[in-house]
Subunit: 156 residues, 2 copies
């Protein structure tokens, strides 16, 4: 943690993540399939927040022999989201982007020019959120925050 309480997230090891995923499948009577692993892996390897379509594209490029269908991508993303392994972000006009949720909690700073997303965490904000929820008698489950603006690169 740096001097002013703001830092970026860290990720868990892929093996741990995969293990967790397999347990999850077993526990719920789902089957382990290569498509599901490939989706998890691609999501893990990507530093970006992906749309279902972008994810599908990436998979088609890296694993063309699988012929993974877009429907499977959607179905697996829903499955992962229901199990809290991925989180979705809703954007401006349409579509959603997904990211692995096994990372630490963090918020997002979104560039309105290039669309890139920077993640951050701020302890002070996290703290205030709990206080506010309490104040309204609200039982907080989760929260998200987005800052929209123009990133360093795009300011040129």
């Amino acid at each position: 943690m740096n001097s002013n309480n703001t830092f970026t997230h860290r990720t868990v090891e892929y093996e741990i993540l995969l293990e967790r995923f397999k347990e999850l499948l077993k526990k719920n009577g789902y089957k382990y399939t290569i498509q599901r692993e490939v989706i998890l892996e691609t999501l893990y390897k990507s530093d970006e927040h992906l749309t279902p379509e972008a994810l599908h594209q990436l998979i088609k490029e890296k694993f063309p022999e699988l012929k993974t269908g877009i429907a499977t991508v959607y179905r697996t993303l829903s499955l992962l989201e229901d199990s809290d392994m991925v989180t979705s972000l809703s954007f401006g006009s349409q579509g959603k982007k997904y990211e692995l949720g096994a990372k630490e909690h963090h918020d997002h700073m979104i560039c309105t020019v290039c669309g890139n997303i920077t993640e951050f965490v701020d302890e002070e904000i996290e703290h205030r959120q709990h206080i506010i929820a309490k104040e309204f008698g609200f039982k907080m489950q989760e929260h998200s925050m987005q800052i929209y603006g123009i990133c360093k690169n795009c300011q040129n």
Copy 2:
């Protein structure tokens, strides 16, 4: 502002809002139409955050003689959003909800059971957001924050 810096928003008078809207239309060479006013008025009178469909439904009930089409609702919402008079919120699985943005800036607390939305503002959080953006060399344009949880009513 109360003792702990958190408070709910206040709204502007409808007449002022309407005036602003008319000026906006004139300035951009748009025409004033009864449909546009009805959409603004309905948004104003509703305490809720409305989906385009819900808004359309309300208008059909209150002004059945207008036979306002859903397309006009969408077109007017876009117009209002482009002019920063309304703000849209994207949610869970699909759809968007709109609210008048002429109110003070505020954040949202969303009940995951009944879907109701409570608004709030917290000075401390607003402040931290500016600091964080600065830290990343980010030129902040706007921001939004949502707290998801179970509201007082639904906890029973």
